[in-house]
């Protein structure tokens, strides 16, 4: 069935099809609508779940951990300050290997206070042990919602999953979305079964401490679990394509990269405009390409190194800055190339902070900059004559 939906609404539809048994959430702009829609579905009976009204994001994640520890499929959603407030619990969820799914509406963090989209909230949590996916459009958001539980709950993975949607640009804009029927969804996603739960027949200590003698073994196993997601994502997308007819490309998505000389590596909704710009530049003879990172964790080290190994230069365009260094995505991309022994000059473009518009001419300028050479780290809109600087 096709419907005209916002990113938030599309994600809520995907979650409805995934049949979570417990939803705990606290509203925050621009995430609010996803949890509003889910509460309506619980109210009208189209989703049979326990909907828990909590007093904060810290409690929302704590509740999801408790639900998962009881063997339930759990969902929550947040954004920005809410994500930071629940940060302590993100590590508990990952370390406890509870396959919770969370939607995060990517939004700026204070100060200055700002409710609009950038990716500084989720990218600050790369080390929390969560799988991190970045959607480009509402259809992908719905599909990620459905695939997320299959990936997170796989026994090889057992890792929580954060699906990120650009605040407002994705969460609040409408597009036509295909909603699968529930029979198809049930065929794709079996009910959650786990031994990592409270069990009266077989009593366990849950979420315990581990001293210096075993702690690194637990952390190593956690690391192996999230790395295993790479293979599971690929298998899941294959099954997804067979049942629903939509294909996805794993950790990254390449566009016109086969013969590309200049490539923008980016993530989230801005990738579409990058592809359009690349098409236009191709008409004037610039061999432009685009790599869209779909998963920041597990990170696509080999895939990035392979696609960038023959380019002349690349730019990483991201809505993030790790103050005192550069954008976190740039750091990760450069590390992938270094490990693979690929020596290509790369440049970092920081843009879209606090909802700043990134225009087609900004992207065109990135391509022309990296053809000619520029500073290592560049802020879009700063130092530009057009901005009167």
């Amino acid at each position: 069935m096709k419907k005209f939906l916002s990113g938030n609404e599309a994600f809520a539809e995907g979650i409805r099809l995934a049949r979570p048994q417990v939803i705990s959430a606290y509203p925050i702009t621009p995430q609010t609508i996803v949890v509003e829609r889910l509460s309506e579905m619980v109210e009208d009976g189209s989703l049979k779940a326990e909907y828990v009204h909590v007093e904060s994001e810290h409690s929302a994640m704590s509740c999801a951990i408790g639900a998962s520890a009881a063997g339930a499929r759990a969902f929550t959603a947040t954004s920005s300050q809410g994500l930071l407030y629940m940060a302590e619990c993100l590590y508990y969820a990952a370390g406890g290997r509870f396959p919770i799914v969370m939607m995060n509406a990517d939004r700026s963090t204070a100060l200055p206070w700002n409710i609009y989209g950038d990716q500084r909230d989720s990218l600050s949590q790369l080390d929390s042990g969560w799988i991190q996916a970045y959607a480009e459009n509402a259809q992908e958001a719905l599909d990620l919602a459905l695939m997320s539980y299959r990936i997170a709950e796989d026994k090889r993975v057992s890792t929580p999953y954060m699906a990120n949607l650009d605040g407002f640009i994705l969460t609040h804009t409408y597009e036509t979305v295909d909603i699968p029927d529930s029979e198809q969804a049930d065929r794709f996603l079996p009910p959650y079964e786990t031994d990592n739960r409270i069990d009266f027949e077989n009593p366990k200590n849950m979420a315990f401490s581990a001293g210096p003698d075993t702690n690194s073994i637990f952390k190593y196993k956690e690391h192996k679990g999230i790395l295993a997601a790479k293979e599971v994502i690929s298998e899941t997308e294959k099954d997804f394509a067979e049942i629903f007819g939509r294909e996805y490309t794993g950790l990254i998505e390449n566009y016109r990269t086969d013969d590309a000389e200049y490539v923008i590596v980016t993530l989230g909704s801005i990738a579409g405009l990058c592809r359009e710009t690349a098409d236009r530049l191709r008409e004037s003879g610039v061999k432009a390409g685009v790599v869209r990172i779909r998963y920041m964790r597990p990170f696509p080290n080999e895939e990035i190194a392979e696609v960038l190994s023959n380019v002349k230069s690349y730019a990483v365009l991201e809505k993030d800055i790790s103050f005192g260094n550069e954008g976190a995505v740039f750091t990760n991309v450069n590390s992938a190339l270094k490990k693979a022994g690929v020596s290509v000059k790369g440049y970092n473009y920081i843009g879209g902070l606090g909802g700043q518009n990134i225009s087609a001419s900004d992207i065109e300028k990135i391509y022309s900059d990296i053809v000619n050479g520029t500073d290592d780290v560049n802020f879009i809109g700063i130092g530009d004559e057009e901005n009167g600087k």
């Binding site: 370390g95 406890g96 290997r97 509870f98 057992s158 031994d195 990592n196 739960r197 009593p203 366990k204 200590n205 849950m206 979420a207 315990f208 581990a210 003698d213 075993t214 073994i217 637990f218 196993k221 679990g225």
Partner: protein, 97 residues
């Protein structure tokens, strides 16, 4: 069955669980080192009413042969059992170390 102090052993890589759940009550370290006062049950006065058992926040009290029995490996010395005992069968005494 109540938890008891196990002999400490080192776990091999494969014995370390994949997640943070393990056999309930698997305790390898006594946890009472900072206790400054300890509850002492008078077996003459105790009637085995189980109020202390219900209120103990650490779950270290059990009833044996009709009397309260305290597991000093895990008792923190908070004194709630002495406070809740209506017949005054539990006294808090200074730890002598």
């Amino acid at each position: 069955m109540r938890p008891y102090l196990r002999e400490k052993k080192s776990f091999s890589f494969d014995e370390v669980p994949e997640n943070t759940s393990f056999e309930a009550g698997y305790l390898v370290t006594a946890n009472s080192g900072w206790r400054s006062i300890r509850p002492v049950v008078s077996s003459e006065k105790c009637v085995g009413c189980e109020q202390c058992y219900l209120y103990c926040p650490d779950g270290v009290i059990s009833i044996k042969e009709g009397k309260a029995l305290i597991d000093y490996d895990f008792c923190k010395g908070c004194g709630i059992c002495a406070k809740i005992c209506r017949i005054g069968a539990i006294e808090m005494e200074a730890e002598r170390k």
